[in-house]
Symmetry: C2
Subunit: 345 residues, 2 copies
Amino acid sequence: MSFDCPLPIRERDCILLAHGSGGRLGAELVERILLPAFRNPALEPLDDQAVLPAQSGRLAFSTDSYVVTPLFFPGGDIGELAVNGTVNDLAMGGAKPIALSLAFILEEGLSMDDFRRVVKSVRNAAMRAEVPIVTGDTKVVGAGNGDKMFVNTAGIGVVPEGCALGSTHVRPGDAILVSGTIGDHGITVLAQRQGLSLGGNLTSDTASLYPLVRTLLDGCPGVHALRDPTRGGLAAVLCEIASRRKLGIHIDEASVPIDESVRGGCELFGIDPFYVANEGKLVAFVPEALADSALEALRSHPLGRRATRIGHVTADPPGVVLVRSPLGGERVLDLPFTEPLPRIC
Amino acid sequence: MSFDCPLPIRERDCILLAHGSGGRLGAELVERILLPAFRNPALEPLDDQAVLPAQSGRLAFSTDSYVVTPLFFPGGDIGELAVNGTVNDLAMGGAKPIALSLAFILEEGLSMDDFRRVVKSVRNAAMRAEVPIVTGDTKVVGAGNGDKMFVNTAGIGVVPEGCALGSTHVRPGDAILVSGTIGDHGITVLAQRQGLSLGGNLTSDTASLYPLVRTLLDGCPGVHALRDPTRGGLAAVLCEIASRRKLGIHIDEASVPIDESVRGGCELFGIDPFYVANEGKLVAFVPEALADSALEALRSHPLGRRATRIGHVTADPPGVVLVRSPLGGERVLDLPFTEPLPRIC
């Protein structure tokens, strides 16, 4: 006969409600997993807030929550998305990212291995993007009240002197460029969710775009606006700018770069690639006279190798996006009522 | 016989998956509910990031997710918590909050009335705290994959020149003050969840503490550290500082202010009030010689009216929090393994 010590077992193989508490398990999660992964001078004191040195220049600020399912997919996972997504939102304003926050909402029962894997992925993505995680939060909700893991990041960036990017600067006469193929991320996640293999080398394009933006702005400082076509895809970016700025947008469909396996996936699922999310592409609005130098700058960076010009902006018809098909017909590209792909990011 | 038009109905009385999409319903949620509630120059362009003017001074940065259930409780709701909680995390560093982000994760089926009510509450709390919501995000997950609503806020603050608050400054000889009664928030939410009426005027203490911090630091600039005792309550703050700074902390239990109905609730639920969350209180560590002037400053503000001195810091025993009971006995206050109250904030 043996006596078992009634002390609670500390090493758990899954997330418990107590990991989100102000108690010992919550503290252990911080001390054993989060702090070792992200250690840096601003995070280290573990006070209620991180304190960063004074910055000269305007600040960019952005946030996004990530609810993608499945958590892991070819080319990335929710942790990598959460870093790159917020870094990219800052970069679209020309801002150099200087600090990220990281907040988890975990569902009780999530495997500790999956949690560690995402934390590692956040760390690696943050290192690649050269931005520290300086503050964070972890909450746990009961089984059935969440879906494994939701991640929120917010980020601060510094906008260089003289840089003034924004959709309010888009003008008739601007050329419209994309930095590469569209639809890769959304179709990859959808195929993974459906258990389909679409052939080719289908992977998410998740990447930090700041280095590409830097290269573009160094080579062509006169860019008017940058947007990353995530949820709602290229269509959402174009429709939003046409509608809010009351401008006409003309797209030449044949010029929009689409990977063959993505095109196949779109046909299989019956989805227009214009509406599919990207996580490592940008759309640039540049004055016509600068279009060639902007393209050259984009193509000089590995992330912009397949950059191409896809259309232009006019005054008329205001608020409308027109797409010219390869056969010469023209169709109106509209915001969809809903989206074909929920929980893609 | 009549024909019904098959066009989708735009005005919905509950949240649909499409409200989280890059499509028309997502855009409508922004244009009809969020933008009108929070309109300000940094938010208005609706670009991927908000751009803020250059700031002189160090920056404070903090984030928290809120998963409290129920969403509404006496004295506040999840929206008010989300604003005050992040404002308070910044204020504990002495920082004046200058901008907040706001990210919702909504469960499909959430009533539109509840969503509007929380948005209104966020707006009112942000106006009271004099901090704009400059950027945001809304995601929707399917029914059963969330729990009505989770809210994340992140905040940027500016730390005044010369201000150096932080737990690393806590020293032997420091006096420990609290700004008022403890346990109000946690017991209010728990009573609401259990459908119990505990008598008295039991309400959450959720409040922006920045004005109280300002008053305190103006009257007594030599404060060493401030913490707000949220998850894990007063115990978590004291145990964390004792453990990380390897100091002894001595608390006089009789001096800790506790409302009568909170005390009754704690007895009923069998919970130690030291472990119960607060959302509008602060703990201050101040050099002994400044304790009286710090108390005077705190009491001069409505949020600090019941401020009191509850203990002091010593070199020994390192890492231990000792509580002297009204009868003279001494007990060790330890971080609980877990927490009695999940999803309290």
